[in-house]
Symmetry: C2
């Protein structure tokens, strides 16, 4: 029997309209759809609302995002142990992710584990959260010969590496800011970067909010409820 | 009469399957579709093959990509002069682009000119060429706390700035390499980065080719025919 293929499928940035034709077609072919479930959100599966899921087997998987490497690998291998029997049945399986699969996704890491076990895999590209955020704010990220740095800001802040990267040339996207958003905004102020900054929350989703320049410094406590779905674009005016 | 809206629409990375639902829906609503035409390619318009274009007015526009700023602005304003009467008729117009509109697109620059003239604009996000390339090569660009630099490599090479950026931490995408691809590959070799490099040509399109690691250094003359549709991903193994 031919074995099934494992697809790591980008679902776009949280809005069902942002999914590609290719992702929809692949998901139509897959019997099993694995989706990440976190205490905070299940936005990835919600973004499939245009798809008929009635004949699919949906399986939620919990990644705790532990920073302990051995523990993390064990979590992945446990879920791989659920996926592999599906592929052996000859059925294809997808794991979906928010944004683009090549950027910080559990689905791509899972795909490489499945590939090592001898199965066929494919990545399906999608719209990144920063493309969605730039579009929401009608903001070009890069023009002409500008470079772009995409920085997992919380980790860089913790390790004292953020300031040096902010001083590098070009545009910046600060992602994954969860815990230290306020401190990062203060750092932007101290580096005179607030006038080039735009903070976008829940880009393309219900409740989208955009804070431009000085507005970022006067965000209220309730404005910080979606810090984990926020990103900051720093772009000098041309 | 209500004025039409100008949409800067991402068509994905050159494959009609890579367009989003949102982009298709917007293009269905637009009477006028402006598309970039260059002596080299009209891939953007070809990527609309799944759309019924029979009742649309398609208008090609030539951007010479001159580096002379005044001349470039004149080109844009001339095309804006074609777009604005359409919007005044009350009809919506789109300008399409390859990849994502926020990254190096003529459409986003045009949108800002149209906005300044007092019209409503919207950006429609799409799949970037580097997401498509990473997916084609089944390569995660960034994992965990890695940062990403997207570098217009030809310009940075010319200005002697490429080496410093290559020495920065994290993954890199080298885009827009057209003229100096061979020299850039030699630089990667000298910096011991070839073993982390993957060159992807025509990602997701007919004739897609992938050169991994040392293969990049043994590309034949005919392999360089699509240098302007190539990009290099540099990603250290985890």
């Amino acid at each position: 029997m031919t074995q099934g293929t494992f697809y790591a499928v980008s679902c776009g940035a949280g809005n069902p309209q942002m999914i590609t034709q290719e992702a929809l077609n692949i998901l139509k072919e897959c019997h099993y759809i694995f989706y990440p479930k976190s205490p905070k959100n299940t936005i990835a599966i919600d973004s499939l609302s245009t798809l008929d899921l009635s004949e699919k087997t949906l399986i939620s998987c919990l990644f705790t995002m532990t920073s302990e490497k051995g523990e993390s690998l064990m979590e992945y291998e446990k879920i791989a142990g659920q996926i592999i029997p599906c592929l052996k049945e000859g059925k294809s399986a997808a794991m979906i992710c928010l944004g683009d699969v090549s950027l910080y996704s559990s689905a791509s890491r899972m795909a490489l584990i499945i590939q090592k076990a001898g199965f066929k895999i494919r990545f399906i590209a999608g719209v990144t959260s920063f493309s969605a955020a730039a579009a929401a704010a009608s903001l070009p990220l890069c023009e002409r010969d500008e470079m772009l740095s995409v920085i997992p800001a919380d980790a860089f802040y913790n390790e004292g590496k953020l300031e040096a990267q902010l001083k590098n040339e070009g545009s910046k996207v600060l992602m994954k800011m969860g815990r230290h958003l306020k401190e990062i905004c203060l750092l932007l102020k101290n580096l005179n970067l607030i006038s080039s900054a735009t903070l976008i929350q829940r880009a393309g989703m219900e409740g989208e909010k955009i804070f431009r320049q000085e507005e970022i410094l006067s965000m209220r406590e309730e404005d910080h409820a979606f810090d984990y779905l926020s990103l900051i674009i720093i772009k000098k005016q041309a």
